[in-house]
């Protein structure tokens, strides 16, 4: 492991004053751009005004920027965590602190994580300290097949986390969806198609004007899913007005539809929905058996968010699970972001471990993994593209957000961790509940006074 030579690991204390973006150049570092290319040694990254100016070998340092010697370190774009519950939960099993799903809510698609995301939740800070600078926050389905609307956030240490509210809608199409829908996949498909038809009809009746509401911009005038139009709907409706309004941008393709689906046949059925609803802007989430239908996914141009290391037949919809799933889909031309939770140990900060294992897999005969560049892209630029932010985050390209992580070694290696993290050019504090406990219990000496006085 390369050891830190010149960049101090000290975290700056979080102050109440607004943090200012720094104009900074890091030189002499090993730089991974995040775009799928292999890392470049002795390279330079320049950030001004919160944006990347240039990155790579032979980049000159403009006048007026602070120069940091990055020798011995790696510099990369911040990680983009695709499928998280950041800011929705303090403690998973403490239900009152957990807003991940809404089991007893009368609403489904209308649910919106944006107003409830809490950037002070400890997992936020842990993820930031792990090099995650952007994330999709994905609600889970609780009472309906729709989980509601997710958001794209940044992990800066401030209250302005939500950068793109209502960036996508979540729907469950597999076994879980079947349970929520009434006990069968048949009901899932009927409910979903009905909902999209109702939303389409509702949108037309309400004469909502269409407009761009991609993740990159605020929602267009006249199309706010939180404000149902008082249109008179005829009978034979299942959706509440809020839920119908929330699905209008989905059926119009103005808001992404994240489809949680695992089984190969279910994936094909999901893709086929686009014949009936051609505007759907779909992302497959899960896709454990995606490798079996990878050519069809690629042909559809639908990206995937997958847990990289899932390799057990956990359910009958995942019988074909293999760690080669991601690599095979990538080889078939599918854009695949690595993300999601499988066990209590899967947190956003462990994304590099999933990605690194994909590189290791390439050395196992008969298995299909990823190159280092592909693996790192799967936790940086590709998830950003999937979220509709291609070229703007997850990559060290001119004009991209100045989200940088300075690592003490190869970021995919078990032994590595961030030394410094920048969001939009602003250096971030890396202290949190865990680091404070670590420091308190560095010694167990209580001969003078209890540990409680050590802080």
């Amino acid at each position: 492991m390369k050891r830190l030579l010149t960049l101090a690991a000290s975290a700056i204390a979080l102050t109440s004053a607004p943090a200012l973006a720094q104009d900074v150049a890091i030189t002499g570092a090993t730089v991974a751009l995040g775009d799928g290319s292999e890392p470049v040694e002795n390279a330079t990254v320049v950030v001004r005004g919160g944006r990347v100016v240039a990155a790579g070998a032979g980049v000159s340092v403009p006048a007026g920027v602070t120069v940091l010697d990055g020798s011995g370190t790696w510099v990369t774009p911040g990680l983009f965590a695709s499928s998280t519950n950041l800011g929705l939960v303090d403690v998973g099993a403490v239900s009152e602190s957990n807003d991940v799903d809404a089991d007893d809510s009368p609403f489904g698609a209308a649910l919106d994580v944006a107003p409830v995301i809490n950037p002070m939740a400890q997992d936020f800070g842990y993820s930031r300290a792990g090099g995650v600078t952007r994330a999709s926050v994905m609600p889970e389905a609780g009472a309906s097949i729709f989980g509601g609307q997710g958001a794209v956030i940044d992990l800066g240490a401030d209250f302005d986390a939500v950068r793109h509210p209502r960036a996508f809608q979540v729907v469950e199409l597999g076994e879980r969806g079947a349970r929520l829908a009434g006990g069968s996949r048949t009901s899932v498909h009927t409910l979903l198609r009905n909902a999209l038809h109702e939303a389409g009809t509702y949108g037309e009746a309400a004469q909502l004007r269409s407009g761009s509401s991609s993740a990159g911009g605020r929602e267009a005038e006249g199309l706010d899913s939180r404000t149902p139009n008082p249109v008179d709907r005829s009978g034979d409706v299942l959706l509440s007005r809020f839920d119908a309004a929330a699905l209008v941008p989905v059926v119009r393709g103005e808001q992404k539809l994240y489809v949680k689906v695992e089984r190969a046949s279910d994936i094909l059925s999901a893709l086929a929905l686009r014949e009936e609803f051609p505007s759907l802007d779909m992302v497959l989430v899960g896709a454990t058996e995606g490798w079996m239908v990878a050519p069809q996914i690629a042909a559809a141009g639908v990206p995937v968010i997958a847990v990289a290391l899932r390799d057990l037949p956990v359910s009958f919809e995942q019988l074909a699970a293999t760690q080669s799933n991601v690599g095979r889909m990538v080889d078939a031309g599918v854009r695949v972001a690595i993300g999601g939770y499988d066990s209590s140990g899967d947190h956003p900060r462990n994304l590099p471990q999933q990605a690194g294992n994909m590189v290791a897999l390439n050395r196992v005969p008969g298995a299909t993994g990823l190159t280092w560049g592909e693996a790192f892209a799967a936790i940086t630029s590709v998830p950003a593209e999937v979220a509709g932010l291609g070229g703007r985050v997850g990559v060290l390209a001119e004009g991209a957000h100045g989200d940088l992580v300075v690592w003490d070694g190869d970021p995919l290696e078990n032994s590595s961790a961030p030394l410094r993290v920048f969001v939009d050019g602003v250096e971030q504090p890396l202290t949190n509940h865990q680091t404070r406990l670590r420091d308190r219990y560095r010694s167990l000496d209580e001969s003078e006074r209890p540990r409680a006085y050590e802080w």
Binding site: V314, N414, Q434
Partner: protein
């Protein structure tokens, strides 16, 4: 609180006749007295006895590898010899290789003892994880020392093969779940495919009793309006049950009572204690309870707060079986920190990295490496060789099998993993795994990748998983 167990008839107590098992802990310096395999009861007296016999192997010499012996030693350009199921010796490049040994080129590769997971539910909670397979918690009574995990193990769990091929797991302890204060007996398995659980049972391995502190028992039973519903209730039920066991042991002719036989086994030192316990303060209370009733806790499992009392754990010779960095999923895991293992080790107490997970068991080496690095960043340097002991010899000690496996010592079982690189690197995988000197997995031979019955004829059969 009434009695928790039925008393049996007048039949003689059928406890194991094994020599008393020294419940030495697992600090690096401890040289515990272990019962010999020969001291175990003969098969006719041992219920559900192991039928495992080692598979054929050839005398093997791995040469030119970096060797971690599992006991804290490391040899560059090392040689590992094994034959007839046993380690013959390890040494440097100058170690003489007897005639008739098959050479395996270890150049650029690493050797460790077989990896051991002290905390697994494979077989008891197998995949597919359907309700019909939920066999890990007899959650009908807060104390069920009468149940034996082996009676739930489904040998066709595909998870065993993944643990072998991806994790280099050669031995694992299957524990009942943590719904109950006393969850039942564990079983230690060789990670070999078998039609029966008896064909996997580790010959001569002692039993352990799984116990659980904290949130789970009080939630499960409190939620049903019965005791325990609080942490104090947890302790009360435990103590009353231990008292009952003492009374049982005092009977001149105690009848058959499966629950009491297990507890008497604990109090007589033949059965070890594996205690699920997250919080430091609760672990300290459990240590007092162990003192009250005269038993030894072998390891606290999921001990995410061990770093707060690592000095106490060292003094009590108790291991901490921990994850590298799980946290936050429940209240009692809120103070989990990734430096836990390093801080425990730094106090001279025993660290075991465990999985409790069908995914994590495939990567104990990576978990150990992360924990090592988290320590290094706070200034605690732990050698690679010591870190390997967290997933080999320390686990074996806490399971009472360290005289038989866990390190590459002459005479021990030839449980060996050849890695295609540094096992503490993310980029390495097991290349060959030997169990008792027999090749059970070979990365380069598709036929040497076991497939469970369940996966035959399924999509991806024979796939590199």
């Amino acid at each position: 609180m009434g009695r928790h167990f039925r008393k049996g008839g007048p039949a003689a107590l059928l406890l194991s006749t094994a020599a008393s098992i020294a419940l030495a802990g697992c600090t690096a310096a401890s040289g515990s007295e272990r019962p010999t395999v020969a001291a175990a009861p003969v098969a006719s007296e041992e219920p559900y006895a192991s039928t495992y016999e080692r598979f054929p192997g050839v005398p093997t010499a791995i040469v030119g590898a970096t060797v971690y012996d599992g006991a804290g030693g490391m040899i560059e350009n090392g040689t590992v010899l094994f034959a007839d199921g046993e380690v013959v010796g390890i040494g440097g490049a100058d170690l003489a290789i007897p005639a008739g040994y098959t050479r395996v080129d270890g150049t650029g590769r690493y050797v460790t003892p077989g990896i051991i997971d002290i905390h697994s539910h494979l077989g008891d909670y197998p995949t597919p994880s359907v309700e019909a397979h939920s066999d890990g918690n007899e959650a009908t009574d807060p104390t069920t020392p009468e149940v034996w995990a082996e009676h739930s193990v489904w040998p066709q769990d595909p998870g065993f093969s993944r643990a072998l091929a991806n994790g280099g797991i050669t031995t694992l302890q299957i524990l009942p779940g943590s719904a109950n204060l006393m969850g039942g007996r564990s079983v230690t398995l060789r990670n070999v495919p078998s039609r029966t659980v008896q064909g996997m049972k580790f010959p001569g391995a002692p039993y352990s009793l799984k116990m659980a502190c904290g949130e789970n028992p009080k939630r499960v039973y409190g939620g049903r309006g019965r005791m325990p519903s609080t942490r104090m209730g947890n302790f009360a039920v435990n103590r009353e049950t231990w008292i009952e066991a003492q009374e049982y042991m005092a009977e001149e002719e105690p009848g058959r009572d499966l629950a009491m036989e297990t507890l008497a086994g604990v109090l007589s030192g033949e059965i070890m204690i594996q205690n699920h316990c997250y919080r430091a303060d609760e672990m300290a209370l459990v240590l007092s309870m162990a003192d009250e009733f005269g038993y030894q806790v072998s390891a606290f499992h999921h001990a995410v707060e061990s770093y707060k009392i690592a000095d106490m754990l060292r003094e009590h010779d108790v291991c901490s079986a921990v994850w590298a960095d799980w946290y936050g999923f429940k209240m009692e895991a809120y103070d989990a920190i990734p430096e836990n293992a390093a801080l425990i080790h730094n106090q001279g107490a025993c660290v075991v990295i465990h999985s409790d997970d069908e995914n994590g068991i495939q990567r104990l080496n990576q978990e150990a490496a992360k924990a090592q690095a988290d320590g290094r960043r706070m200034g605690i340097e732990i050698s690679d060789a010591d870190v390997i002991s967290w997933i080999t010899l320390n686990a074996a000690r806490a399971m009472g099998i360290d005289e038989m496996t866990g390190s590459l010592e002459a005479g021990k079982m030839a449980d060996v993993v050849l890695w295609n690189g540094d096992p503490l690197s993310i980029y390495s995988r097991p290349e060959t795994v030997w169990i008792d000197g027999a090749v059970m997995y070979d990365m380069n031979d598709p036929q040497m990748r076991p497939i469970s019955d369940f996966e035959l004829g399924q999509p991806g059969e024979g796939d590199v998983k």
